[in-house]
């Protein structure tokens, strides 16, 4: 069961919800996957131990100039100008390459060889309470995160409960994190900016056909623009976390709200129970995994 926590707008509380939700579930098969590989921070709260790391690379082409006849077939298939024929020379731009291997396949001379480019690393560790965390870390200077996010997600065991902390935005990295999730939990901030980006994410999720629910973070007392939007779209609001200066202070010290504030723990447990209910219902209805 894969639950991905996303938002659209950055800084609404994706990681806060992810790590506290993980810590409030009373089961031993909870795994967390931090897919915000540009700035992962779940490990600050989960505090994993015995961390193992491995570098992640992708294929990029390397041309054997002895074999290359400058026919241009590779250039023609490449949609990103990562391999280009200029002034009777083949040039490659590894940072443009999406590793589709098209150039390798179409080369009639077998001149395109495999080279690699390091994107970053995947780290994994378990904390004292048994919560298993896997996270990606993009190499500084690298711009392409989706293949690294995909590598983080490849380590998901669908048997247990996997909580995926998605990157902000609605472009390729966020889509990669949300793809093939059983449920998307959107953390909304009740501001016009938050609502704007929330709506963009909801539209993307309709295309991805992922069931969606909303939690409101730093909620005001009165129902506002997010409630109005959710009602119009027919999306359930699963929980409301009230604005709290104390909570902000606890988060800023890298601590878990569920350990410090009993009232927050109750809200997170309530949230998990509702999620579990929804996912069990849809599993029974045969919707999960479609």
């Amino acid at each position: 069961m894969i639950i991905t926590i996303a938002s659209g707008k950055g800084g609404t509380g994706k990681t806060t919800v992810t790590v506290n939700l993980a810590a409030s579930i009373n089961r031993d098969d909870v795994t967390v996957f931090d897919c915000d590989v540009e700035e992962p921070n779940s490990h600050i709260f989960i505090k994993p131990e015995n961390i193992s790391s491995e570098p992640i690379s992708v294929m990029v082409p390397k041309v054997d100039t002895q074999r290359c006849t400058l026919c241009g077939a590779c250039e023609e298939i490449c949609q990103f100008s990562a391999i280009t024929l200029v002034a009777k020379r083949i040039m490659t731009f590894p940072e443009m390459c999406h590793s589709c291997r098209g150039c390798e396949m179409v080369c009639p001379e077998d001149a395109v060889k495999e080279d690699s480019r390091v994107l970053g690393s995947v780290h994994q560790g378990k904390n004292a309470r048994g919560i298993d965390l896997t996270w990606g870390e993009l190499r500084v200077g690298e711009a392409m995160s989706p293949p690294l996010i995909s590598q983080v997600k490849d380590r998901i065991n669908p048997g247990g409960i996997a909580l995926v902390d998605a990157p902000p935005g609605t472009s390729c990295p966020a889509i990669e994190a949300l793809r093939s999730s059983d449920y998307a939990l959107l953390v909304a901030e009740p501001t016009p900016f938050g609502l704007n980006d929330l709506a963009l994410t909801v539209e993307a999720l309709k295309k991805l056909k992922v069931p969606t629910g909303i939690v409101i973070n730093r909620a005001d007392d009165a129902p506002g623009i997010v409630e109005e939007y959710a009602k119009k779209e027919g999306i359930e609001i699963l929980q409301r976390f009230p604005f709290s200066r104390e909570a902000a202070s606890i988060c800023s010290r890298g601590k878990l709200l569920v350990n410090e504030m009993p009232e927050m723990k109750a809200l997170f447990q309530q949230l998990f129970n509702r999620l579990n209910q929804l996912l069990t219902e849809s599993k029974e209805a045969g919707e999960v995994g479609k």
Partner: protein
């Protein structure tokens, strides 16, 4: 000799377009006779990424010796360098005006790109 000027319009009186990869037009100018030819760059204007590379190729195919533009990124610069084309960056004015400056020897070749690559 022939040079390319990135241009916002289709004649010598048009303003230089400061962008290389996403320039509206490339004007190929014969620096002696001031005869010119216009090349469109519409395809690149709508390309999400790699516009500099494609623009570099288009310019390389014209057989010019130098490019006069505002900004040139690292990948475009690399393509132009491979094609043996000099790049002059950081200039502004009309197409005619910059070619006259070039003829008067007032412009110097750039040793490298003057702006960072950008991502969408």
């Amino acid at each position: 000799m022939k040079v390319v000027v990135t241009s916002s319009g289709k004649d010598l009186d048009a303003d230089l377009d400061p962008r290389f990869g996403r320039a509206k037009y490339f004007i190929v100018v014969d620096t002696k006779s001031m005869d010119f030819e216009v090349k469109e760059n519409t395809q690149n204007l709508n390309l999400p990424q790699g516009a500099g590379i494609q623009a570099g190729k288009t310019v390389a195919e014209t057989g010019v010796e130098a490019v006069l533009t505002g900004n040139c990124g690292p990948k475009a610069f690399q393509v132009l360098e491979t094609a043996g084309i000099h790049v002059i960056t950081g200039i502004q004015g009309t197409v005619k005006g910059v070619v006259e400056k070039f003829n008067a020897g007032e412009l110097s070749y750039a040793g490298g790109p003057n702006v960072e690559g950008h991502w969408v």
